[in-house]
């Protein structure tokens, strides 16, 4: 596993905040971090503006996109769903606000050397890192398809943009407000069959990622899943994000989702332990 990637701890600045359905999209100036980022990396953000802070846990956010702007150089885009104290604080930030962040963190998606057929499966805001990945894969000559799912339209991320990055896009929503009515796990087997997929990339809830890994294995494809577990520090220090895996040697281990992950080969995850909450 690759490690000791270059990472930075900086004070960034909010350039803009935009409402995107149920989410907020924050564009951040974070000197040095965008240039180092690869699809599947995340940043750890501190919550609260004043020192000392009452909230010590950091918030891990997927790097959605890196954009090059004229006046601010490269910027980062992250997606926030305001559901808890920290994410509501982040969602309420306004232009010019300062935020402390660390990144790029975690092991990114591995990309194939050969041009192969890829299916990118994203659920809700967790689909964020897949759009940059789609562009990278296309540059490598891969045939990229996407399957996006959410409970309803406001929770569906960037479906229009997906049509620019991918050859085919399938959308499923729980209430049928966009695309087909249904869930990702039901749509997967037929897509894998029809599209001739060699590699499946997944980003979403644990249940969806488990479905991705299982369907890929049944289909004879590789899978890479971006685990989203609570990560108290995000930097590999606290051992608070245990991910049960099986090593190349067949030995069960517990690794850190934030450091040895978050992207892990789907067939290496001990799903029964992960979903069951055992170490």
């Amino acid at each position: 596993m690759s490690r000791a990637n270059e990472r930075l701890h900086v004070t960034g600045e909010v350039l803009s905040v935009r409402k995107v359905g149920a989410y907020r999209q924050l564009t951040l100036v974070a000197p040095g971090i965008p240039e180092l980022s690869r699809p599947g990396n995340f940043v750890a953000v501190s919550v609260g503006q004043t020192q000392p802070r009452g909230h010590l846990a950091r918030r891990s956010l997927w790097i959605h996109r890196v954009r090059h702007t004229g006046s601010h150089g490269a910027t980062l885009e992250v997606i926030v769903e305001p559901v808890g104290a920290g994410s509501r604080w982040l969602a309420g930030l306004t232009q010019g606000a300062k935020v402390e962040l660390t990144g790029p963190l975690g092991r990114p998606f591995a990309q194939p050397r050969e041009p192969v057929g890829c299916l990118l499966v994203g659920e809700g805001y967790a689909a964020a890192p897949l759009f940059g990945l789609a562009e990278r894969l296309r540059e490598r000559g891969c045939v990229v398809s996407m399957l996006l799912g959410a409970s309803d339209e406001p929770h569906l991320l960037a479906a229009l943009e997906a049509r620019r990055s991918a050859r085919s896009v399938t959308v499923v929503t729980g209430d049928g407000s966009v695309g087909r009515r249904g869930v990702i796990s039901d749509a997967l087997p037929e897509l894998l069959e029809r599209l001739g997929v060699d590699v499946v990339y997944g980003a979403g809830s644990l249940a969806t990622l488990h479905a991705v890994a299982t369907a890929a294995e049944q289909h004879g494809a590789w899978s890479q899943v971006a685990l989203e577990l609570p990560q108290p520090c995000g930097t590999g220090l606290c051992q608070g994000c245990p991910a049960p895996v099986v090593g190349e040697d067949g030995v069960p281990r517990v690794v850190r989702a934030c450091y040895e992950g978050p992207v892990i080969r789907g067939d290496r995850v001990r799903w029964d332990a992960l979903v069951g909450g055992a170490p």
């Binding site: 701890h9 802070r53 010590l56 609570p230 220090l237 606290c238 608070g240």
Partner: protein, 280 residues
């Protein structure tokens, strides 16, 4: 200010150390803020056999603190020596290995391996794991028992390598513990550790972070008063230079920075640099 003692045998470039269990295995932190300027790096607590650790959630936010129930996840002493210590030994920061045992025999067995490993600058005996009994550790909740653990480590370790004993920040008893472990051969005491607490789900855990700094300050003062000749390393809620200074002004020889690193991985290096700036 009280004249600072030193920890015999431990050459520290700064009075700022990384506390056990808060610095990963070393390289994670070093990539964000070099460890080189720090006094020492204390490893996560290592046991004789590998431990997979507890189930999630393992940490919960508490106002100005964390409650943790990591369950001492570690690869066991042999894997630690093979895979983690060599990185620390190859870097310029002194490596202090934190240890805990299920029995006195385990303390001795772990230390026999450490005694012949290159790059061990010190051993910190963790006799104050907040949920230690639940984790099947040797019960060191009385001073004589803590002293037995320290004595077992001291006996197996070459004289030149210092033994630190990490004590709970329990104001009424910490001085008694300090005297007992000093008599058993501890070269210094670390005051204190996470405070026994409860996770939101009801499992036992330990509370750490700025929330417990006032407890630790009181305990450091108590030990300084009771045992003026015993070097004290303070641990508890240090998150900035003023916080570190408060402990040093009580006569602590060094401070350990732990929980604050989870929030800002550069904070220990910054405190070390700022303290050095003050003394110039």
């Amino acid at each position: 200010m009280t004249t600072a003692l030193a920890v015999p045998g431990l050459a520290m470039a700064s009075p700022v150390m990384v506390a056990a269990g808060c610095g990963g295995t070393g390289p994670e932190l070093d990539a964000l803020a070099p460890l080189a300027g720090l006094g020492a790096f204390v490893t996560r607590t290592v046991t004789l056999d590998a431990r997979l650790g507890g189930p999630p959630p393992r940490l919960a936010e508490s106002p100005s603190g964390f409650i943790n129930a990591i369950g001492l996840q570690n690869p066991g002493i042999d894997q630690f020596l093979a895979r983690e210590l060599p990185w620390l030994a190859a870097h310029t920061v002194p490596a202090v290995v934190s240890v805990a045992g299920a029995s006195i025999g385990e303390y001795a067995a772990i230390t026999r391996r450490l005694a012949v490993a290159p790059g061990v600058a010190g051993v910190e005996v963790n006799v104050s794991v907040p949920d230690g009994v639940d984790l099947g550790l040797f019960d060191a909740s009385e001073p004589f028992a803590a002293a037995r653990a320290v004595s077992a480590v001291r006996r197996e370790l070459p004289r030149g390598i210092p033994v630190l004993a990490k004590l709970a920040p329990e104001a009424g008893r910490v001085a008694e513990f300090a005297r007992a472990v000093a008599e058993a051969g501890a070269d210094a005491v670390v005051v204190g550790n996470a405070v026994p607490a409860v996770m939101p789900q009801g499992r036992p855990g330990g509370l750490s972070g700025p929330a417990i700094a006032p407890l630790a300050l009181r305990c450091v003062a108590a030990v300084r008063e009771a045992a003026a000749e015993l070097p004290v390393i303070a641990a508890g809620g240090v998150q900035d230079t003023a916080g570190a200074r408060a402990f040093l002004d009580l006569g602590a020889v060094a401070v350990q920075v732990g929980t604050a690193l989870l929030h800002d991985p550069t904070v220990a290096a910054r405190i070390a640099a700022e303290l050095q700036g003050e003394t110039r």
